[in-house]
Amino acid sequence: MAKEMLLPKDPRYLKYPLDAPFDKEKARWIAFNCSRCSVCKWVNSWQVKSARYARICPQHTRYLYDSHSGQGKCDLALAIIDGKMKWDDDPEIKDILFRCTMCGGCDAMDKNIRDAELVKLYRWMRSEYIKAMGPLPEHKNLIDSLKQYDNVWLQPRSKRNAWAQDLKNLGIKDLNKEKADVLLFVGCTYGLSQELKPTILNIAKILKQNKVDFGILGDKELCCGSPPDKIGLLDEFERLATANVKRFNELGISTLITPCAGCYGTIRVEYDELPVKKQFEVLHVSEYLDRLVADKKINYQREVPLTVTWHDPCHMGRMGRPYVPGKDLEGVYDEPRRILKSIPGVELVEMERIREYAWCCGGGGGAFTGFKDFAQWTARERLTEAKDTGADILVTSCPWCESNLRAGGIGMDEKMEIRNLFDLMMQAL
């Protein structure tokens, strides 16, 4: 008779508890199973192309101590959960938790060797920290703004629609009043930033030129909930996200498109945690336009003779799909590259760390608003890597990446121009 197999007693070793609620028990499971293998600190070794660009974690690279890494955060979670430390034992706990861009680099590398969700662990830790210690003073403006104005930029709601006034003659639909197939979800930053306003105008023009049946929510649009989600204000995230999904479902749209990587990752992935379910497809604008490019519907008129490099925003890439253990960490990697290659005259050259191995711009996880020094240091690392490709410009499609990379570049000896993908596209149309 065949001997009975000796399998683990704990069923979580047989199958990762993906669907279990993310509570203290799940947090402990992830932290407990950290073996200190350190893959969270480095680019997956098959992908390391040079000694210079071998690191994946901005926080660990900047602050050096192991406490400031995925491994260190697992150690901290375990100590807190097991009662060996308290949140107020050490003021540095705040830095360990929040001087992190939540970029998911560690998380992606870790997923090669074990089933775990490190970024979700950090989010849970941030939430628990805030419950015990209160919100961070560094995030006060952001939080006040969300509560008062439903956006992150301390701007009145009425300003949210200001960009569209320039396009009145285009006849963009107001989905509060009429129906359309596609909702263009603009996001707080593209909607309210003067610096980034040309991009959203260009996107609307490209969509119109291609007769896409789309509309906007104008001043009724709320924040997607990404910033409160990343900084641990989970109640605030739930409030915004729930209101959004209900509203989007009511619109009867087939597709929501957004140019913001943060909004995209949040609506596409994080909204899956809500009791109310999405009844529409979620695409980044680059995914939507890539389909038009593939169908040869985009008629370029001009050459753009530039050598460009593409920066993968974390929330379009490795954080842009729900996690399924064992399945590819897919994301929006190929679509923007195909668009770039479709633009006459553009030559794409790649940085060493791309796709799921991309180095973060530094602007995520509340770092852009709360810890500018760290955010901009991280950006400079990326800009140096971009410069090393020989590219004329760096192209991306995330307002946080654009803004933070520009801020990081100030004062650098070698300048690198930052452009949005859709602005470059428009230049050729």
Binding site: S38, D75, D89, D90, R355
Partner: protein, 523 residues
């Protein structure tokens, strides 16, 4: 935590100030949250309370700063542990109050890669993956252990170095050349050609006795003999591409090296004896770049991309029924594609003569692209932990290939005896062939469930295993005896106790260099 009390202690403040004066305030930490990240490991000691947080973590940036730190440790008689990349922290977990971790995060330079003379000069943080990447660009290579390339290349060269390509280029510790090294008493020692010229490390021997043996032994000195701050390591000619070929997305990446220069075979035998005979014959013919007899569990540890896939395939016996007694061989066309063609013909003759059979093609196709090249450049090594939270190893032993058979068979018996807590693993019997089959390395690795409530019982059983392991080491082969407790047991038996204690006393008079590693001179 205990740290809170020590921070206010006057002696603690004196040590803190001394470190800060030597390194700068930002490069010294003593706060609980930082200390908490420096005593975890993959073994059970942390869970059982056998390790504890350090009192300080310091980040020197140069040999002189390391020297200053070690001198301060001697002045205050506090123990220090030098760590490399601190991966897995095998012996880097403090077990004494007041420990100082010397973390080399600011020592990550590759000083030089001399292409013509084929060596690199590196600092302790440089990982095997980094050095490999730079070597490949220059048509050169080093190996990496199958777990893992994120380890410090210096530490990796001192510790075992039983990497896949060791069959061809020698185990890693034989590739050490010049060393710059701060002894436990704070003296700086330069060996090999570094002794004449601190910028030239191409030669390893002398002057005088070859002191490299102190560091490498078989499993390194475990931080018991100070800290290496710079090392020259040998590189080897490489016929592969300048950038490692990899396709796909995590966790399903595949790597296929150019087929005109690299060719994998996995050949199965009816018995372990048959498999080992095959390894001998390959060595005699002086062909191949990698020759390994992996245990069943290795195939699936490195291959499975989720816990569910691991245990599903294990219960389906996908690997148990197909790779038992199989040998993995990678032929390398070092000089040309013609060489590979020649080696293929030789290998195919050997397979015929020894009665080997290729494993099923579907299993080969399933396994090789995702996994095989891990033995040339590791990326999946830490998957060993996935199925049960941790794994353990016993019976790490060097012997001839022939006697490695007995060695791993004894391992089977011990695994059987202690199952559970050891989980199903189909007789773990790794035998690596090295130096063209001159010797073999046997290891018994198995999954155990990382359960806090079972861990005490498990540790008792492991201690029993260890005792048997040491006793067995007297009969067959030479074991590595990993650091303090092992040397303590083994040194009297192998009659190196006095020698090792004398050296330790001479260079570590205050017994501060990662005690009790590598031996306690007063025990």
């Amino acid at each position: 935590m205990a740290k809170k009390n020590t921070q206010n202690n006057e002696r603690h403040q004196q040590i803190l100030q001394a470190f800060q004066a030597a390194l700068g305030i930002e490069n010294v930490k003593d706060n609980p949250a930082t200390m908490n990240a420096y005593f975890g490991d993959w073994l059970p000691p942390k869970l059982l309370g056998m390790s504890m947080p350090p009192e300080f973590v310091v980040l020197p940036s140069s040999t002189l700063e390391v020297q200053a730190v070690i001198k301060i440790c001697n002045r205050f008689k506090v123990p220090f542990i030098p760590v490399g990349s601190n991966q897995w922290s095998l012996t880097g977990s403090p077990n004494r109050q007041g420990t100082v971790i010397i973390d080399c995060k600011r020592m990550g330079k590759i000083h030089e890669i001399d292409e013509k003379n084929m060596y690199a000069v590196i600092e302790p943080l440089v990982t095997l993956a980094q050095l490999q990447a730079e070597a490949y660009k220059r048509g050169l290579y080093i190996g990496s252990p199958e777990a893992s390339a994120t380890a410090s290349a210096i530490a990796g060269h001192c510790f075992q170095g039983m990497w896949g390509v060791g069959y061809r280029l020698g185990v890693a510790y034989r590739n050490i050349l010049g060393i710059e090294w701060v002894l436990p008493n704070g003296e700086i020692l330069r060996t090999g050609s570094f002794a004449q010229d601190a910028h030239n490390g191409f030669w390893g021997e002398g002057p005088g006795p070859d002191l490299r043996g102190m560091l490498r032994g078989y499993a390194g000195a475990m931080g018991g003999f100070g800290m290496v701050t710079k090392m020259a390591v040998k590189l080897h000619p490489y016929p592969g591409p300048k950038t490692w070929p990899v396709k796909g997305t995590i966790p399903n990446q595949i790597s296929v090296l150019p087929e005109d220069r690299f060719k994998w075979y996995i050949i199965k035998y009816d018995s372990l004896e048959g498999a080992i005979n095959f390894m001998y014959e390959i060595g005699k013919a002086e062909i191949a770049g990698v020759v390994q007899k992996w245990p069943t569990v290795y195939y699936i540890w490195w291959w499975a991309n989720s816990n569910e896939q691991y245990w599903t395939e294990w219960q389906k016996r996908t690997f148990q029924d197909n790779v038992k007694n199989a040998v993995g061989v990678c032929l390398w066309g070092f000089t040309s594609a013609k060489q590979l063609e020649y080696e293929k013909r030789v290998l195919e003759d050997i397979i015929k003569e020894t009665g080997g059979k290729p494993i099923k093609q579907e299993v080969f196709d399933l396994w090789v692209p995702r996994t095989a090249n891990n033995w040339i450049r590791d990326t999946h090594g830490s998957r060993m932990m996935r199925p049960s939270g941790t794994f353990l190893a016993l019976r790490l032993q060097t012997d001839t290939l022939k006697y490695s058979i007995d060695h791993v068979r004894q391992g089977y018996a011990w695994v059987e005896k202690f199952s559970p807590p050891i989980l199903d693993c189909d007789g773990p019997d790794w035998i690596g062939g090295y130096d063209f089959g001159h010797f073999g390395f046997g290891e018994t690795d198995f999954p155990v469930e990382k359960r806090a409530d079972d861990i005490g019982d498990l540790m008792n059983k492991l201690l029993a295993m260890t005792k048997e392991d040491v006793q067995n080491g007297l009969e067959n082969g030479v074991g590595p005896f990993l650091g303090g407790p092992y040397h303590q047991m083994a040194a009297p038996v192998f009659n190196y106790e006095n020698l090792l204690k004398s050296i330790k006393k001479a260079i570590d008079p205050n017994f501060v260099s990662n005690p009790p590693h590598n031996i306690d001179p007063n025990a």
